[in-house]
């Protein structure tokens, strides 16, 4: 945790730290959506026919208003009309496009609903609701909505003729195979600035000074480590900050035998609930300085702090807890 940011004079600045959520999902597809994406891999666009006769593109399995199952699959054209649009003057990295473009809702010929996609023109003056566009397909396709690279304005009369609607583009090498076990890979990567709050900031800052601070409930006098915003038992707050010792007693423990992702300690190692002297609740930390087979409930342990130059407002200022010599 880095210390920065402003706060009222006299009060220590709250801590802040960067935090990134980076999760990749591989989503199976199924249903009419799979038919649609498999069609895109072949250079075709398919919709589903609703009970009222409308052709829905992209297809759905059920009419969202009536709940009725949709019927046959219907092939539609890969050209159509822009029904709404907006302009992206500065593409973001995740757009993977090197020039400005439009997001648009496009009603393909033969469809009664619109497809969300991209239109490339030179500038927003080239965009208009009602304009005709056609799909520009990637040569290599995998069953993704991005198999259509973009939509392009339909050429004006006198220019080279467009393909007739509904005709698949020429299959490029590797482009015609039917995808197996179709899946959509979603990469979710979001950046945050984490703020642990004023109460926890004080606790973490104390750790950076080789101190452990607890919080005492002003009503029931229980001492919590780390301190809480309010007493979990009676709701009273704020708590009074009180120092607690860096020695305590093992309340419970487990031994980790398998490597844990993101954990640098080599297994086997022990992880214990430790109740510090002066505290009423335990917290979890690593054990060290003894064979894991020697760990037992009731054992007295003490904090082993990292070297002074490595002290920081983090739990890791305590390297581990080690047995107190008898």
């Amino acid at each position: 945790m880095r210390e920065r940011g402003s706060t009222s004079p006299g009060a220590p600045a709250p801590l802040r730290a960067p935090h990134v959520l980076d999760i990749t999902y591989r989503r199976g597809v199924g249903g009419s959506c799979e038919r649609f994406l498999a069609g895109l891999a072949r250079g075709e666009v398919w919709g589903s026919r609703a009970a009222d006769g409308r052709v829905i593109v992209p297809p759905v399995d059920h009419d969202p208003v009536t709940g009725a199952a949709t019927g046959e699959f219907v092939r539609v054209a890969d050209s159509g009309v822009v029904r709404s649009w907006t302009w992206v003057a500065t593409p973001l990295p995740e757009h993977r496009r090197d020039r400005p473009f439009a997001f648009a809702l496009i009603q393909l010929d033969g469809a009664d609903t619109s497809l969300f996609h991209v239109v490339e023109v030179d500038d927003p003056a080239g965009m208009a609701t009602g304009m005709r566009v056609r799909a520009d397909w990637h040569g290599t396709r995998s069953g993704s909505v991005r198999d259509i690279r973009t939509f392009l304005p339909v050429q004006l009369p006198g220019r080279p003729a467009d393909r007739p609607p509904g005709q698949a583009p020429a299959a490029a090498p590797g482009g015609a195979s039917e995808p197996e076990n179709l899946a959509v890979v979603s990469e979710v990567r979001v950046s945050y600035t984490y703020e642990p709050g004023l109460t926890l900031s004080g606790f973490l800052r104390a750790l950076g000074e080789r101190r452990i601070e607890g919080g005492r409930c002003p009503s029931c006098t229980k001492v919590y480590v780390p301190p809480r915003v309010r007493c979990p038992a009676c709701g009273t707050g704020p708590m009074t900050s009180v120092p607690v010792g860096d020695r305590g007693t093992i309340v419970s423990y487990t031994v980790v035998h398998l490597p844990v992702a993101g954990e640098s300690t080599e297994p086997p190692f022990a992880w214990a609930w430790i109740q510090l002297d002066g505290a009423d609740v335990p917290f979890a930390h690593l054990l060290g300085g003894m064979p894991v087979t020697d760990v037992c409930v009731g054992q007295r342990v003490r904090a082993v702090w990292v070297a002074g130059d490595r002290l920081a407002p983090t739990w890791e200022s305590i390297s581990h807890f080690a047995p107190v010599p008898p």
Partner: protein, 343 residues
């Protein structure tokens, strides 16, 4: 649905921070819970149902609700449910639980902090992961498609959007709005709500007779209706809000008189769409709280609209006030809550 049961809003409090003061979720929420409970005249022991809402993807902290338990009246154990989404939807659940006779009073809370570097990226994660998200639109791109469709319908022009902005954002004339560059045409930056703020809201519901005994004039809930539309953007008529129309019809609001209407419209054009969809014959005051364009804390704004509508009844003498809450792209979900001075 409308009901004859007598459940009222008896306490409400909210706060919005435009710049972080370093508070945690619990620190942000604690004074709001205290204030709402104090206004209700109830103490923590009187609360039998707690419903909370937040967005873990918005804050990036998985299981973040654990931290706020300490400030909630959850001990000794009461029914507590937490939802990822808009606080107004938690209100709906609390209301239903009281209707079902689970308890005599409920506390509803919502809180959020703008810890994500760019909330528009988080909101885009609500979009269809197969067909839309791979193209990586941000929330304002999708909203702009709706705004364009509304303008193309001929019902409104850009100057109407600018008039909404001018009414909600102090010191900004319509001309000054129109002079600003587009963020995603036809939307300009002031057309889009300011989401870089922290917010918390708490609302206390009580069943009669406790409601009558609580401090202040209770705002009786005449009905709540919550509707959702398809996630397939291209299947919807984006110029209308059919879910709001259905909710309004279900509550008997179409063609009625509403003294105070609080609309949750994260984009200027959405205020026009929602007001049209409610279809009241006359609205006495629209968004006297100021609306959400100046400050739109994720998942809290809708509950604040309902709290503001309740305050209009309990403090300002309105006979009938309506709070609106939305969630999802292009007004995908809409909830209306009708509050009345007479039960």
């Amino acid at each position: 649905m409308t009901v004859e049961h007598r459940i009222a809003v008896v306490g409400f409090a909210s706060r919005i921070l435009h710049a972080s003061d370093g508070s945690s979720d619990a620190e942000l929420l604690a004074p709001v819970v205290d204030e709402a409970l104090a206004a209700s005249g109830l103490d923590r022991a009187g609360i039998g149902v707690v419903c909370t809402a937040s967005s873990e993807l918005g804050s990036g902290i998985v299981g973040s609700v654990m931290e706020v338990y300490d400030v909630l009246p959850c001990w000794p154990p009461v029914t507590h449910t937490h939802l990822e989404g808009e606080g107004a939807f938690a209100l709906y659940e609390a209301w239903v639980r009281l209707l079902a006779g689970e308890a005599d009073a409920a506390l509803v809370c919502a809180y959020s902090r703008p810890l994500a570097r760019d909330l528009s990226q988080v909101l885009a994660l609500q979009l269809d992961p197969y067909l839309v998200a791979p193209l990586a639109p941000r929330s304002y791109h999708v909203a702009a498609l709706q705004a364009r469709a509304l303008l193309d319908s001929g019902r409104y022009a850009e100057r109407d959007l600018a008039a909404v902005v001018s009414a909600r954002r102090t010191g900004l004339t319509p001309g000054a709005v129109l002079a600003q560059p587009y963020v995603a045409p036809p939307l300009r930056e002031p057309d889009c709500s300011t989401t870089e703020c922290a917010g918390a809201a708490a609302l206390v519901l009580a069943v009669d007779p406790p409601a009558s005994g609580a401090a202040g004039q209770p705002a009786w809930i005449a009905g709540i209706d919550h509707r959702v539309e398809t996630s397939a953007l291209g299947m919807r008529d984006l110029t209308r809000s059919v879910s709001t129309e259905a909710a309004s019809a279900g509550l008997g609001l179409r063609g009625s008189v509403i003294d105070v209407l609080e609309v949750h419209a994260p984009y200027s054009h959405q205020e026009l769409i929602v007001v049209d969809a409610i279809g009241a014959r006359r609205v006495g005051a629209l968004n006297p709280s100021g609306g959400v364009l100046p400050a739109d804390p994720l998942g809290v704004s809708g509950l604040i609209r309902i709290g503001a509508a309740a305050s209009a009844v309990s403090r300002d003498g309105a006979h009938r006030a309506v709070g609106h809450a939305t969630n999802g792209p292009c007004l995908q979900q809409n909830l209306l809550c009708v509050l009345e001075s007479h039960r």
